[in-house]
């Protein structure tokens, strides 16, 4: 695939694919920021190690996806420096800071599960073999992130008064905002980049969540003004104060 320098040169399908991969990469970027922000709240030395590792994992995956987006004209300069809070396309789920350790655990479980579910549909892509291999690699590496959150959920549930199930219910509603408006045409699926449609993936996600949490019947996000290009309802962008915490600093000291 040739590298293009302008979005206008892209086909309709490629434009939509570019948007979706940007959403997935930004989801990982902000999730990595979550791990960074919560690191010192760890509850054992092994948590400090694990959170550092998951942070690196997410940043590494985000970087690989941004690099892949290079073929659509996306540059690291844009990704790391010229964008502001309004340009970040991470899921709404990650806007609201965790309120407690159990809320943190519930949120990373939803986020890891959602991102992995969406990526799982790229593993067989014939239209873009490089992307398929990348998706496969990311999924394999994410397995331990999921055991980490599932292990913590189990541990927290040993306490009957734990809020983890309640936290998860709230976070599930926020997570479903990622698959907000499924009546819109799904060009990425239609053009063969993904092997499953967004509505199938939403079901796959709910099924995966259901293995750990009770999923209430008829749970739905509110599709008021969902935009596929950002996979969110409402205005684009993440909270300014979140962006300020996770953005990169000291540009002149970046290593080559």
């Amino acid at each position: 695939m040739a590298v293009v320098n302008s979005i206008e040169d892209l086909s309709e399908a490629d434009k939509v694919l570019r948007d979706e991969l940007y959403c997935i990469a930004d989801a990982k970027l902000v999730l990595a920021g979550w791990y960074m922000m919560v690191l010192q709240n760890g509850r054992s030395i092994a948590d400090f190690t694990s959170i550092c590792a998951m942070m690196q994992g997410q940043y590494g995956h985000a970087r690989a996806l941004y690099q892949h987006l290079g073929r659509f004209g996306v540059t690291l300069d844009e990704v790391e420096w010229t964008r502001g809070a309004k340009d970040i396309r991470s899921p709404k789920l990650l806007d609201r800071p965790p309120q407690s350790w159990s809320d943190f655990v519930a949120t990373i479980f939803m986020a890891e599960q959602a991102i992995s579910t969406q990526l799982s549909a790229y593993r067989t892509s014939l239209a873009d073999r490089t992307l398929a291999r990348l998706a496969d690699k990311i999924l394999k590496e994410s397995r331990f992130h999921l055991s980490y959150s599932v292990g913590w959920i189990k541990a927290l549930r040993n306490d009957p008064s734990s809020a983890v199930d309640e936290d998860a219910r709230r976070r599930l509603v926020e997570a479903l905002d990622w698959w907000g408006e499924l009546d819109q045409p799904d060009v990425v699926f239609a053009s063969g980049y993904r092997d499953a449609s967004d509505s199938d993936l939403r079901e796959r996600f709910l099924k995966a969540v259901g293995e750990t949490f009770d999923v209430p019947d008829g749970i739905a996000g509110h599709a008021r003004s969902w935009q596929r290009s950002i996979r969110r309802n409402g205005a684009p962008g993440i909270p300014e104060n979140l962006f300020e915490k996770i953005r990169f600093k000291n540009r002149e000291l970046a290593m080559p």
């Binding site: 960074m36 709240n41 054992s44 030395i45 092994a46 400090f48 190690t49 800071p97 990169f248 600093k249």
Partner: protein, 318 residues
């Protein structure tokens, strides 16, 4: 009475000497049951300090992750910190077998009672400090733990340091890579690095503790918990660091003394850091004065360790 006590003391002394002799002949201990109380105390003190030094890197590296300039740089610092937390985990795990409760040690102990070193008690100001921290600090740490791995007569501890040293070496290499790069970025950047090196160098030199003429922990050597003295380890550090600095054009207060065939400091230890200006005063002071400054600690120690023991959520995060 007095005679019985004397007899007991003599037997104890004899057991200690017998153990020292066995160790000198190359014996390695594998189990706590083989230890004398004094051996055990010296070993545990050594391991406990090493564990505290590792855990102190959490507050130290946290800011470095947060102000990192790029995805790559953030990954690099997080990776180093992941290693350090792994080291802490390995060391506190080993202490568990000696009756320590690592949860209590990390999360409940008064931060004042952590035995960290002065070098780890100052916040990083920019990625330049990250590079210098690796180059000066991890280098010093690496030299210490290498010595323990090679010489420690307690086999499990020596072996557990294989992973530690394997990873620590990467941190030093990363520091060299960073500083070499910054020193190629023109005069302004070179000056920024030099300014911070002026701060870091004496911290690194005093990492190894008091000079051999006053050092107290000779039991560490008698029981072969470690193999080299403070001054010997400091010499290795100088041998590695000074030529590197000369090569990249950083001035440090040390030079090679060709008559004695060793590296020497241009000043005489101990010296004090002015905690207001963060500038070193190179006039030699007494060791009690230095020990008092170490005991008081740097500005990051208490707030940094306190942060590790509390949790912040909601609006306190963003």
């Amino acid at each position: 009475m007095a005679q019985a006590a004397l007899a007991r003391e003599t037997t104890e002394e004899a057991t200690e000497v017998a153990l020292q002799t066995r160790i000198k002949a190359g014996a390695t201990l594998e189990d706590i049951s083989e230890m004398t109380p004094r051996y055990r105390d010296v070993l545990v003190a050594t391991m406990a300090i090493a564990a505290d030094l590792e855990i102190m890197t959490l507050p130290l590296d946290y800011d470095a992750i947060a102000f990192a300039p790029s995805i790559n740089d953030r990954i690099a610092v997080a990776s180093a910190l992941q290693d350090e937390m792994g080291h802490a985990q390995v060391m506190f795990r080993m202490l568990e077998d000696f009756g320590f409760d690592s949860y209590h040690q990390v999360f409940e102990r008064d931060p004042k009672n952590f035995k960290t070193f002065f070098l780890l008690e100052f916040g990083n100001l920019s990625p330049i400090d990250v590079g210098l921290g690796h180059l000066v600090g991890d280098q010093a740490g690496y030299i210490t733990t290498r010595d323990l791995e090679e010489n420690c007569s307690f086999g499990p501890y020596s072996r557990s340091l294989r992973k530690v040293n394997f990873e620590e070496n990467f941190h030093v290499k990363r520091g060299e890579y960073m500083i070499r790069h910054y020193m190629q970025q023109g005069p302004e950047m070179r000056k920024r690095v030099q300014d911070r090196m002026d701060f870091w160098f004496p911290l690194g030199a005093e990492w190894f503790g008091a000079t051999d003429d006053v050092k107290s922990r000779t039991d560490q050597l008698h029981y072969k918990i470690r193999g080299s003295s403070n001054d010997q380890l400091r010499q290795i550090w100088l041998q590695r660091l000074v030529p590197f600095c000369e090569q990249v054009g950083l001035k440090v207060p040390a030079h090679f003394d060709s008559e004695r065939g060793i590296y020497v400091l241009d000043y005489q230890m101990p010296i004090l850091l002015n905690l207001e200006t963060l500038k070193w005063d190179f006039r030699t002071v007494t060791w009690p004065e230095k020990l008092a400054q170490w005991k008081k600690g740097g500005p990051l120690k208490l707030p940094g360790l306190t942060r590790m023991q509390v949790e912040l959520w909601g609006q306190d995060l963003w």
